[in-house]
Symmetry: C2
Subunit: 536 residues, 2 copies
């Protein structure tokens, strides 16, 4: 990580909005929402003074352990609205005592061994881009904290061109991963919004959602095998293109959010770099009409690469237009995809979509939206500095409940914004991924903050949105993960018996509950289920 | 199950080979392999005299519990070569004490409760088509045995046409399932070879391989949620089109082979019934050439519905021709698929395939092969009666190892056949499913049996094949499951830590180890891992 990262917010110090960009942004928002005259200045390194670290790394690992206040502050939170706001408010409530950045897997083993000896907990840290409280320390656990930063495990170790697969270390970030694959003509093509500042191991641990809007939506589908370090040893699955030999061990680690082991390497399925592309944009007069077209496209077997529906509010905010837009795209390394697109456009028109014959417009709208998509977290940081509330949350729901569901979640969120005085505001929705049996709605909230209580205001709004999602049959997260923020909703969504099984599986590899305790399930000995006690 | 099932072999009493078919089969084989003059007569119900049952069902469940000798004999084994041979030899070594066929989920709960009280073990039984010892009782566990036959849980409970999904009971067999979906214009399109005599719950519990040769190869991809009864309660996952909320609970039950619960119902993703089809057959002069074409087809993104490669021996045995054949097919409910097929044929030709322009030939060869495919288990039963050894086994391997792997497994199997005196013989191979990163080779063995020791001969050959598969990097099963027969290979394939986690997960829901003990992992208290003890 030669390029400097912002310790208080998203991304890199040399990216993001310039003061001129900030001023233009404020001027654009001001007609709708009250904007602070002067944005809050980000904290500077000189301001950071934390309580002393409670840990002293042993000599063997001390060279790559960082006890510096700024490093510790930079590893205290992820990058949600709540995280950035706390950083802007100079609140570093539970900083790690040490940031350990091992150079290899043996170093990871050494850190876990040391943590066991020192009675410390370990929080695996990839790119730190969690927006769900996935990399912050628990407030109800007093043990010292080690943030285990894996960014030095950043290499593609082996490429199998025949199988289009590669063995890749868990700490590599998106751009470096793609740069290492490019000479082989291969790509993972996994582009979450966090692509520049998130890691392969983080994608696997959180079941990240990627480039493909249909078919292969999560990183899950691209994982061929996983290697992970646990406090009791290393576990590794066999490289296989498919298997029916018992429950999949990889599927236990996918989504494990650091509680079952530290993912040090994985074999990933790759693709040839696409050379054929075709895209179109369909405009709809209602969001529901666009969603019905998306449903048909999800069920038709064409498997579009892109099939993202933006509601009019979303399209407006990102500058992509003033209708409800369905962005359609196909790509291939093997064959022209015009036939695919032609049938997709027919389907969109069958459901009332208006598709311009001129294709340049499609590429323009798609490019405009994608550029805004990648820049959005930087814009968010500026909006927070200007006193606003800006956050996203996402879910998935089957088609039979879709329209009621989106309406209920939107209504609950708007009502909560009003109730806490964070108003006026706007709640937009897009569909990020489309399935034959449902879709993944993604909500963005932009609202006035009411004075100095934005943390509490957002907490109330988030709780209301989570309740609406859960009680209307959705999932607490489609691809942002559970973290600490989504635990209340997750606890209602999953069965108690499965939670007890997950705790038991954790107990096997992490008997002292060192690894990210409190994420997904409570640590051992606290709040354990009756059924699990019967089983032990 | 109104139609009578064969209690000693595959399928239905009114299907299979007639005496005239048997004679023709024997005449066709005789030039190559010694065939008994008179085939062994199948056992008749009158011959069956088992030791008395050790269980007395309580009054509430007695009406649907069967203690009859023939029912117990019919539930003693699955349908592998070994199973049929033992039945023909009148060996019923560990029959269940009771066959319980509950009419509903409450009945399943009642059986598990009774089993707990009675100190009995429970073997969930769907269609009983296991070819891996998945439904037979352990020989090293003296507890009484209940075979829990789920065939009365045979209804589609709810259809959600919008999401193209249905809630389906676990005991329904393939034909009834499709008949219930047909009025809605929907289909599951899951057609394992056992389709007529296997159940949805069995498919889920064993990660069955189905109709689609690429993309959606296992039942796994079609499962939206699962409901299962365990000894400590019912567990159920939420219906979702996709989720990133922790490790998938469904993926823990998929492949659990009855050890983690009894699958009573599941929401499955369905499809519109296809109306567009196109197919072709490509002939190759070498199996390896055909496999390279299959690899290209697996990697090109066309996702053919059918992409099955038969080696020349296989094609010959099934009467489908005399070359190495690649069967290609596309189907859709939405759009003509000629463009897809045209590009697939181009690819096959690029790799040396000869494709006839005349399409009827393609349909003929495909239909011939498919008909032989469904009839194969009946033919197998006759071949066993004629004194031969006939069995199949299957695996999966990445492309980089593919050619060496197939050669090694074939060689190890042939060598073992010779070593045990079961010679002459033929070992054929086909690819049943094709992935971007590998394929699923499926081997068929047909060999002379050396006198009366075919069980022991096959045991030695099977062990040699399993060793070759494991040591060359394959999986012990791609879609036949692990059962009792594959435990030695499975124990080498999976990591010890994952096995300990699986045991711990089982311990939570099945503390007394009632459910199919010894399948996948050893029962609690026997052979447990040191690491697990540390964790408890």
């Amino acid at each position: 990580m030669d390029r400097g990262r912002r310790f208080w917010g998203w991304g890199f110090e040399d990216a993001g909005l310039t003061p001129a960009d900030d001023a233009a942004l404020a001027a654009r928002i001001a007609p709708y929402l009250a904007v602070a005259e002067t944005p809050t200045a980000p904290p500077t390194p000189e301001e950071i003074h934390l309580a002393p670290s409670r840990l002293t790394p042993p000599a063997a690992i001390a060279p790559w352990c960082d006890l510096d206040d700024v490093a510790r502050a930079g590893h205290t939170y992820g990058k949600s609205f709540r995280d950035v706001l706390r950083a802007l408010e100079r609140r570093w409530e539970r900083p790690p005592d040490v940031v350990a950045s091992p150079p290899d897997e043996a170093g990871v083993v050494a850190v876990l061994d040391w943590a066991g000896d020192a009675g410390a907990i370990v929080i695996p840290y990839g790119g730190g881009s969690s927006v769900v409280g996935g990399v912050e320390a628990p407030t109800d656990d007093d043990r010292p904290v080690i943030s285990l930063d894996l960014h030095r495990l950043d290499r593609v170790l082996e490429v199998d061109v025949d199988s289009r697969a590669a063995l890749i270390q868990g700490g590599v970030f998106g751009p470096s991963l793609e740069a290492q694959l490019r000479p082989h003509g291969l790509t993972l093509r996994h582009f979450p919004q966090s692509f520049e500042v998130s890691s392969l191991g983080g994608w696997i641990a959180t079941r990240s959602g990627g480039h493909f809007a249909t078919l292969h939506t999560h990183i899950d589908e691209f994982v061929e095998s996983i290697r992970a370090v646990t406090p009791v040893g290393v576990t590794e699955s066999r490289r296989l293109p498919g298997s029916g030999a018992g429950p999949s061990p990889d599927r236990l680690l996918l989504g494990s959010e650091g509680i079952l082991g530290v993912i040090t390497a994985a074999w990933l399925r790759l693709q040839d770099r696409p050379t054929f592309r075709a895209s179109a944009v369909a405009r709809f007069s209602t969001f529901e009409g666009g969603a019905r077209a998306a449903r048909a496209l999800g069920q038709c077997g064409l498997w579009p690469t892109n099939c993202r529906l933006l509601d009019a509010g979303e399209a407006l905010v990102t500058g992509a237009g003033s209708h409800h837009l369905l962005l359609l795209g196909f790509e291939s390394a093997d064959h022209p995809v015009e036939h695919w697109l032609a049938r997709a456009v027919e389907l969109a028109r069958d459901f009332g979509g208006v598709v311009d014959a001129h294709e340049d417009g499609a590429l323009d709208a798609t490019a405009t939206w994608r550029s805004a998509f990648l820049r959005a977290p930087y814009v968010r940081d500026s909006l927070v500095r200007f006193g606003l509330i800006n956050e996203t949350f996402e879910t998935a729901i089957t088609w039979d409940r879709f329209e009621t569901f989106v309406g209920s979640v939107r209504h609950a969120t708007e009502t909560a914004l009003r109730d806490v005085g964070a108003w006026p505001g706007i709640v937009t929705c897009r569909l990020t991924h489309v399935y034959p049996d449902g879709a993944a709605p993604y909500f963005t909230v932009l609202a006035a903050g009411a004075g100095s209580g934005r943390l509490e205001q957002w907490a109330a709004v988030k709780a209301a949105a989570m309740d609406a999602i859960e009680s209307n049959g959705g999932t607490v997260t489609h691809h942002h993960a559970v973290g600490r923020d989504h635990r209340p909703g997750y606890d209602r969504e999953r069965s108690d018996l499965f939670a007890a099984q997950l705790r038991a599986a954790k107990g096997v590899v992490d008997p002292a509950a060192l690894l990210n305790p409190g994420v997904l399930v409570d640590p051992r000995g606290r709040g354990r289920q009756r059924d699990e006690r019967r089983g032990n």
